[in-house]
């Protein structure tokens, strides 16, 4: 057998060159770049103090919670433009039952997750059954959900905002899952060690890690595991890469996609749960444009718009860049009006860079 014959035209590939063809590379490099930039321009403004770090991590965490499952969906070749409206809708589903109908918070939370999951499944079914582009189907859901949110809220409460959740949530068993902070003991210890600054009254400048950051990291880890180490992950890549081939090999492409639409909808519900319980209120306009921000984070993270390639860790870097830039611009005192210009440009550059990386990966090694 000719097994030992090596093709003389093949050169060995260095570890570096392999690293260069990872999807996260662009986002990781971008993150370093952004950190260096703000370390120079905002180094002494408190952006990188414990308080500042928590601030930008919290912004990143909220987006990152959406971006991780959105990355999986986009790798499977579909978009979900309805996540932003879903956030507003989920918030109302938590606030109205508890404030107007006297439901306990935990029940409203479960209700919101269940309804959103159901709508996600409907999104998925509509895409899979009609064969229409998910861009159009979920663009429809984007408008329908926002309209439904406004109509229901004004119909029931007469206003567009529902507040008073704080008081109701105080003793709720699920409250601490979505609001408040964790690891306060650790922070106090770090503060005693001098690693975290103290306020004038002797308390640490931060009292703990917001729970949303823990959710963000956990979801990223779960999505990464799903993508790279589970059977489902193989199906996600196949569904986005070559759906027909996947179907011929017995991969349940439709089920995979529907599951992912449920996941993005549930992520929106999680986002809303955190937001409602932290701020104590729901607003019909919550989550506006989050669908695009999530897509930006995912694309910066190296996921291909056409599907079949990408990573959840990349999406985490994308969300991190988003948070650092948003807070960094605030801390440096640059007019925050420029933020969107910056993020838009960042995304276009990321797409160019990522298509270069992908072409590298696809070139015969």
């Amino acid at each position: 057998m000719a097994a030992e014959v090596r093709d003389e035209r093949i050169r060995s590939v260095s570890r570096l060159s392999r690293l260069l063809s990872r999807p996260e590379l662009g986002a990781a490099a971008g993150t370093v770049l952004v950190f260096v930039f703000f370390a120079i321009t905002a180094g002494n403004t408190g952006l990188f103090s414990a308080k500042g770090i928590i601030n930008f991590l919290e912004v990143s965490a909220q987006l990152g919670i959406l971006a991780a499952p959105v990355a999986l969906l986009m790798i499977a070749g579909e978009f979900d433009l309805s996540v932003g409206s879903m956030i507003g809708f989920a918030g109302i589903l938590i606030a109205i039952p508890s404030v107007f109908w006297g439901w306990p918070i935990w029940l409203s939370l479960l209700f919101s997750f269940a309804v959103c999951g159901g709508i996600g499944a409907l999104n998925g079914l509509a895409v899979v059954k009609t064969g229409l582009p998910s861009f159009i189907v979920t663009l429809g859901s984007l408008f329908m959900l926002r309209g439904l949110t406004l109509g229901l809220t004004r119909g029931i409460s007469g206003r567009t905002q529902v507040s008073g959740v704080h008081e109701l949530a105080l003793n709720d068993p699920l409250n601490s899952l979505f609001s408040g902070q964790v690891f306060s003991g650790l922070i106090a210890w770090l503060s005693d060690m001098g690693l975290v600054g103290k306020r004038a009254d002797g308390l640490p400048s931060i009292s703990g890690i917001p729970v949303s950051i823990v959710w963000w990291i956990a979801l990223t880890l779960i999505c990464t595991w799903l993508l790279t180490r589970s059977r489902f992950g193989n199906w996600i890549f196949a569904a986005g890469g070559e759906a027909n081939a996947a179907r011929n090999l017995g991969v349940p492409v439709a089920r995979t996609k529907i599951t992912l639409f449920v996941m993005t909808a549930m992520a929106a519900a999680l986002f809303a749960a955190i937001q409602v319980l932290v701020t104590g209120s729901a607003d019909t306009l919550r989550g506006t444009q989050k669908e695009f921000e999530a897509i930006i984070a995912v694309v910066i993270g190296g996921t291909l718009l056409t599907g079949g390639y990408g990573s959840a860790v990349g999406a985490m870097f994308g969300a991190l860049i988003f948070g650092v830039v948003q807070m960094g611009i605030f801390y440096t005192g640059i007019d925050t009006d420029w933020f969107k210009l910056f993020m838009g440009a960042m995304m276009v550059i990321a797409v160019l860079f990522n298509s270069y990386v992908r072409n590298r990966a696809m070139r015969s090694r």
Binding site: A3, R231, N234, A238, G241, E242, L249, G250, Y309
Partner: protein
């Protein structure tokens, strides 16, 4: 000859008023390469799809190991040991060779309550199976998109063989390949045959078919025009039958007439 693994008995298939297959019989034995030759529109695709369970025949029957069988789906066919390798090869270019090899049949490893994709096993197996077939991979984690056409074809065949195919249906496996690549695939066909696998080799390239084939069946306009063992027919005869020797003579005459008839 041994007992056929799969056989079609006077199968007909109609699409509305179109007769796609009429009274076609075809079989393949273990360790045999049976070539199915025919021009475009001869009904080759319909025949393969009937054999692989995509279409149910309107008349006639399919037998697997002598037993009359009705395939419920392509998956059902696969379970009875018949694997079709279509021209699109059912490969995902952006995924690694190993992941493609096991797509839809992922090897899992248990870690307590969770089971996860056994990447190490997948990489090793894909690498070994392909080297056993004479394809030396650089890296089982390289994307399939970086493989050449012949290598992709071999990957699809190796995958079918690994998952226990007793009969391989190869749809024009060499048609899009250069000379060297095609010879690699032809070698693989001979190897599969040596392993006792029955190969149905669909082609319109007589040169490729004649090198590896044991029997040749010609299909024309949905009908079987004859099955020949290699000993009964030589390459030129086959070529003649295949290219439609008579049709070419007719064409020549017609062209001659046209030339003569045209005003000077």
């Amino acid at each position: 000859m041994a007992e056929p693994y799969v056989e079609l008995k006077s199968v007909s298939k109609y699409f509305g008023s179109v007769v796609a297959l009429k009274d076609v019989s075809f079989d393949v034995c273990p360790g045999e390469v049976h070539c199915l030759l025919g021009d475009n529109g001869a009904g080759k695709s319909t025949l393969i799809k009937t054999l692989s369970g995509v279409y149910a025949p309107d008349e006639g029957e399919i037998r697997v190991q002598g037993k009359p069988t009705r395939f419920a789906s392509p998956a059902d066919t696969r379970n009875s040991g018949i694997a079709a390798v279509y021209q699109d090869l059912a490969l995902v270019p952006l995924m690694s060779v190993a992941r493609n090899f096991f797509l839809g049949r992922e090897p899992m490893r248990k870690f307590g309550p969770i089971s996860q994709f056994d990447a190490e096993f997948a990489n090793r197996t894909a690498y070994d199976e392909l080297s056993a077939m004479g394809i030396q991979l650089r890296d089982p984690e390289q994307p399939v998109g970086t493989l050449s056409g012949g290598e992709r074809q071999c990957l699809a065949i190796a995958r079918a063989v690994y998952f226990g195919a007793k009969v391989l249906i190869l749809d024009e496996p060499t048609s899009a390949l250069g000379v060297h690549q095609a010879s690699v695939v032809l070698k693989l066909i001979v190897q599969s045959k040596a392993r006792g696998i029955g190969v149905i080799f669909i082609s319109h390239n007589v040169h490729h078919a004649y090198v590896v084939g044991d029997r040749f069946t010609l299909l024309k306009r949905g009908r079987c025009t004859g099955t020949y063992a290699k000993s009964e027919i030589d390459r030129d005869q086959l070529l003649n039958l295949m290219a439609g020797g008579k049709e070419l003579v007719d064409l020549e005459q017609e062209l001659n007439r046209a030339v003569k008839g045209s005003p000077a």
